[in-house]
Symmetry: C2
Subunit: 549 residues, 2 copies
């Protein structure tokens, strides 16, 4: 297995030439029925329709060659098998395996990494027992009442993915169960959630792999204080999801502890106990297991080497085509499903924290673009917001639409002779066609240039199973893109400098406790004076080297 | 008053030359205390700290000249005075005034547009009376009970701005009042909101200027059906915010109607009755008036011609500098306030629908970039998500940070010797410094290139007053940028093609009602077959011209 820069692969030059004349979507006859049905790729229960991307068979063949030359499927397989892929060769780095796939490799008799999968299965059993005790009334609050609410305290990967999935599957929430989230160190986040909650019936799920995340520990203290204020013993309400032996792994402070592992990156942790405790409480154990089953199915489908039969790989390649060969800087992900309201926020982390990198696996600065800016909101809402720019702005924005043929609740109504679900789908298709085909007009303000690329990722219905598939489609797409770009998608050194500078400021705030000078004042309303005292901005940079924080 | 393309202004060439050597933020001595405190602009209760942008006095002077040559402040003033600025010269267009500022021009004895402001004041009086009737028990449900909940049914501008502000000011919500939102035509959106609501105590605020918005009418029908199912008479629960004489202006169907006007664009309508009814119900009339007062204060401050003393103008110019001269394609807006969780979604609409345009006011295609992609999430959450890419990705992302010195609730706690609010601010400052200064390291993966531009928009506390200011700062920034780019920021022709194509699909769905063929099937899981039947994609585009939909 070798790791080579994207632009050193022979197919790179071929693709550069092809990119000089990409397929035009807005010429007569460009979008034939044959093309649209043929440009269709199936993995699990999803179909990717990519006939409205700016590529043809010649480009696809070259992308296939690129994938073969890069060896990304081999790298993906070695990831699942436990290779130490979270590293930079020759330099200090995390040096870890990348085994989020092992958390769901539960449905075969011979998992790739038996130890990791056995550990995951052990935690799942603990979770199943815990949830059963809640269900059968064995575990109650001090007054013998049931627990109805759960507050998740976590940030980043301990918040975004679990929250996105909890919202996506709210239709499957068990009766009498509600979940809440506190993530931001902004004290108003916690205050806003605690207002009006019956804490005596509330569990608090504190999630931090290291057990040292500043925001999470701070919010935990805020919530503990609220429990104590109501005369409730936090030990009977607080759960921990953390690494074994972390400072949070402490039975004297928590009702139960569930473990995660150093080989699970935060942004890939939804299918570990990080998502499990919260989602199990909300949706029930069986639904969480269905989520895992969906993810496992896609993990398997992603081993396929034919790019036309592997959605995660094809999505990755289309992204590379748009980013590195057609030069587009952003990617809009637009789900036509209100339930996916926070899914793009999760993908922002998963994608941008993974692939927003500038050095390759050998520690050299890359000479091509890596991860795009990922953004988006659900349609049809977005149509009434930013679609104006997508259609008629001066930058071209590639789009990945996500759609479902049926609604979750099934509460629908025929208005003006069509159902809401039909309206939703009609709008999705209409956007794809409008972006691709454009429109001529005598009125220059009504010209749509068209030729703007998009694709549709579609399934029957958003269920725990397809949600698991969708999660894994994107996790694996992102891993593939990291392999193409020859970067380490599994570390996040780019967040450390800010942390370190923040800690220096906090040391100062701590030292002047009780003094209001940091609040700024006349002539310095932002409060730069404090920073000056610290010598922070004076030399234009903190250039003292990047040791451990 | 003349309208000239950005690149035909004499200062444009000067700025192009200066852009070849922009100010470097990551050299020793670049960020002096003097620079940081001096690069500070005040409007209303906000300070804009822009010392960490890549500009110096020479650039600022050239930007001042650009503003003077472009005449943007004169254009802004003429907008407030009622000029017909929503138009394209020589072509069919909306041809309307742009008078959202008149909705809050209430605090002086001589408003710019007396008729528009008098109409706004009249609606405000109606609202005040209505809210008083709710408060004093004069207006109750059929069982004599109070109304505790309000569902807002609207999409785009009738949803995003009001929702963002309602969430931002949740700390000011009146006891016993809750608000909910249904926007998406996805039937699951309505179903998810209606679950568990006591409809007998619920008001429904239906918002559509035209009274014909497909999503809103569809959702209104869904909600009416839910009321009827519970034996409740919708006429006693439903409110309308719409244009006078629109199909929704019908006292037989609504408890009350409040009016908006064709000179208020949806994305600029939060300070009209579109925001008023919902926010008045939630926050009380006085707090809504404080919001208007804050906006009015900034509308006045934005008339200042000195770019160093006008935050909206300076923000606009910094944006033009970063977009047109330094070549950055996106703008991240990152509020360090969890309450602003949906404010960026509002700004996405306000900015991208206004300035995602490709023809100038004379109907010619522009030859420079217009509106950027605007995106973002609150910090510190974002730090644990996409900041990796902002610090170490291959694209430079200009950032606008928003911060407040004090929290809203004041529920704070000292943990590890600092408060949460101190942690929040320390992180904000740390990010600005890290982006600007960067970091050298022996370890290439720990190098931060720095020299990445950002600014901080800061106030004491997020209140109804400062929220109104913040809204108007961005509304006016966006209007200024539209003037610089010589585009019409007040129409949205780019949303029409998708609407028209969707309607053609819906006509088809309507015709085959009861037939399942649109759901796709074997070999065509996305359902392209339907589109073929309509001849939609066959000729690559719908190129039949852009008449009215």
């Amino acid at each position: 297995m070798s790791f080579v820069d994207l632009n050193r692969l022979p197919a790179y030059g071929v693709l550069q030439k092809l990119a000089a004349n990409p397929y035009n979507l807005n010429t007569p006859g460009a979008l034939t029925p044959d093309r649209l049905t043929r440009c269709s790729c199936v993995s699990g229960h999803f179909t990717l329709a990519y006939g409205t991307q700016r590529l043809d068979d010649e480009v696809l063949d070259a992308l296939q060659t690129l994938a073969d030359q890069s060896g990304v499927v081999t790298q993906f397989l070695s990831m699942k098998q436990g290779a130490v892929l979270n590293r930079i060769e020759g330099f200090d780095s995390e040096c870890r395996q990348v085994l989020h796939t092992a958390m769901r490799d539960l449905f075969v008799s011979n998992p790739y990494c038996p130890a990791a999968t056995a550990a995951a299965a052990g935690e799942l059993n603990k979770l199943q027992e815990f949830l059963a005790e809640l269900d059968n009334g064995q575990l109650t609050n001090s007054r013998g009442g049931t627990f109805t609410d759960l507050i998740n305290v976590g940030i980043g990967g301990s918040d975004l993915g679990p929250r996105a999935v909890a919202l996506a599957l709210k239709a499957y929430q068990q009766t009498g169960r509600r979940v809440h989230f506190i993530s931001n160190v902004d004290p108003d986040d916690a205050a806003g959630v605690l207002v009006g909650l019956d804490l005596s019936r509330t569990l608090v799920n504190v999630v931090s792999k290291s057990g040292t995340t500043l925001e999470t520990l701070t919010n935990e203290e805020l919530v503990r204080a609220a429990f104590l204020k109501e005369g409730l013993e936090p030990r009977h309400h607080f759960l921990a999801v953390t690494g074994e032996k972390s400072p949070m792994d402490d039975p004297t402070r928590y009702l139960r502890s569930f473990y995660m592992y150093d080989y699970i990156g935060g942004r890939y942790s939804t299918t570990s106990m990080v998502g499990g405790v919260l989602l199990g409480f909300s949706l029930g154990f069986d639904n969480f297991k269905e989520l895992l089953r969906g993810a496992a199915e896609i993990d398997l489908a992603a081993e396929e080497k034919d790019v036309r039969r592997n959605i995660p790989l094809l999505l990755a390649l289309i992204g590379v085509w748009n980013r590195n060969f057609l030069g587009h800087q952003t990617l809009a992900i637009l789900p036509y499903s209100q339930a996916l309201i926070r899914f793009v926020a999760h993908l922002q982390q998963c994608d941008m924290e993974s692939n927003g990198k500038r050095v390759n696996r050998q520690g050299q600065a890359v000479s091509y673009q890596t991860g795009p800016v990922v953004w988006g909101e659900p349609g049809t809402n977005g149509q009434h917001a930013f679609y104006q720019l997508i259609h008629q702005g001066t930058s071209v924005i590639p789009v990945e639409f996500i759609g479902f043929r049926k609604s979750q609740y099934g509460d629908d109504l025929v208005v003006q002779n069509t159902t809401s679900q039909e309206k939703l789908l009609a709008n999705l298709f209409a956007q794809v066609l409008a972006l691709a085909g454009g429109q001529d007009s005598e009125n220059p303000n009504r010209i749509f240039p068209g030729n703007r690329p998009s694709s549709i990722l579609m399934a029957e219905r958003l269920t725990p199973r397809t949600m698991g598939e969708l999660l894994a489609i994107y996790e694996n797409k992102i891993a593939f893109q990291g392999f193409f770009w020859n970067i380490n998608s599994f570390d996040q050194e780019g967040v450390q400098l800010g942390k370190r500078l923040a800690n220096r400021l906090l040391d100062h705030f701590s030292a002047i406790r009780g003094d209001d000078s940091y609040e700024g004042g006349e002539g310095d309303p932002v409060g730069w004076a404090v920073l000056h005292e610290l010598g922070l901005p004076r030399d234009g940079a903190d250039r003292t080297g990047g040791g451990p924080i």
